[in-house]
Point group: C2
């Protein structure tokens, strides 16, 4: 039984609407493996033309990245029977933007660092093996390993055009 | 003046704590360009050992991705004077997991699709140029273009070890 290989799909949809200011309201749905939905919103601060009514998009992104790794550390600590007690992550994400005159700016990631502090009686080797397993199981981390995954389509009349 | 090149940093920190179940509580801070902070939480549904008390990590990630592109579409539509009115994004994110026996599963992204529907009087060419500018300015999209950006350190006693 230990050699049985199972594949499973994980599918999320997000419908976002922005009427005209910086606030965006979203319906987010997990379709697979189990239906679950929620509402989220983002906004920007005043310096970026927003009203500060919700977290910024990068706050959701930062939280999603940290929490995805955290969830796999927790889930796999149970599966691997590694005693780690409370887990704390300190995540720091650094991007840089470049702007020429008044043109739209361009951005790039500079460094993302995740510091992991775990309680419990596990050995350092066990903790390292747990982190390695969690990295491979973390949907967000694996997404960040794979460039050019996003496709875009623009609605033109009743058609969709690849952009 | 139009040739002046400015660089700016965008820095976020996220402190996450998980006491033992699936719920993770987070303090998220924007440090640059302007201080702003919020609290976020994630949880899992019962099938994954959670209590369903908050959105899942991939819901935050999905919302962060969609909202980051949306925000740049809106901001750059103003800067480029492209009349697009209300903007709607339909985002679909698909991952696949592979599990051997009872080992921790491994994951990979399969496809991310973002369908963009904009109102207003802009020409198709203007809309395409706006999307291209927004992709280059979207922090999350540019992060997904760059593999191997994340570093991890484990706390071992009073030291930090690269993992």
């Amino acid at each position: 039984m230990s050699e049985e290989i199972k594949k499973f799909d994980v599918v999320f949809e997000c419908d976002a609407v922005n009427p005209g200011r910086m606030r965006t309201d979203m319906q987010v749905r997990m379709l697979e493996p189990d239906p679950f939905e929620c509402e989220l919103a983002t906004d920007e601060m005043g310096f970026h033309g927003g009203d500060g009514s919700a977290p910024t998009p990068l706050m959701l992104f930062s939280g999603g990245l940290a929490a995805c790794l955290m969830t796999q550390l927790r889930a796999f600590s149970k599966r691997l029977k590694v005693d780690v007690g409370e887990i704390k992550l300190a995540t720091r994400l650094h991007w840089q933007g470049v702007q020429k005159g008044r043109e739209p700016y361009e951005t790039e990631p500079v460094s993302f660092e995740i510091d992991i502090d775990m309680e419990g009686s596990a050995s350092t080797q066990q903790r390292i093996e747990l982190i390695e397993a969690a990295k491979k199981g973390c949907f967000v981390e694996q997404t960040l390993m794979r460039p050019n995954i996003i496709g875009h389509r623009l609605k033109v009349g009743n058609d969709w055009v690849q952009v």
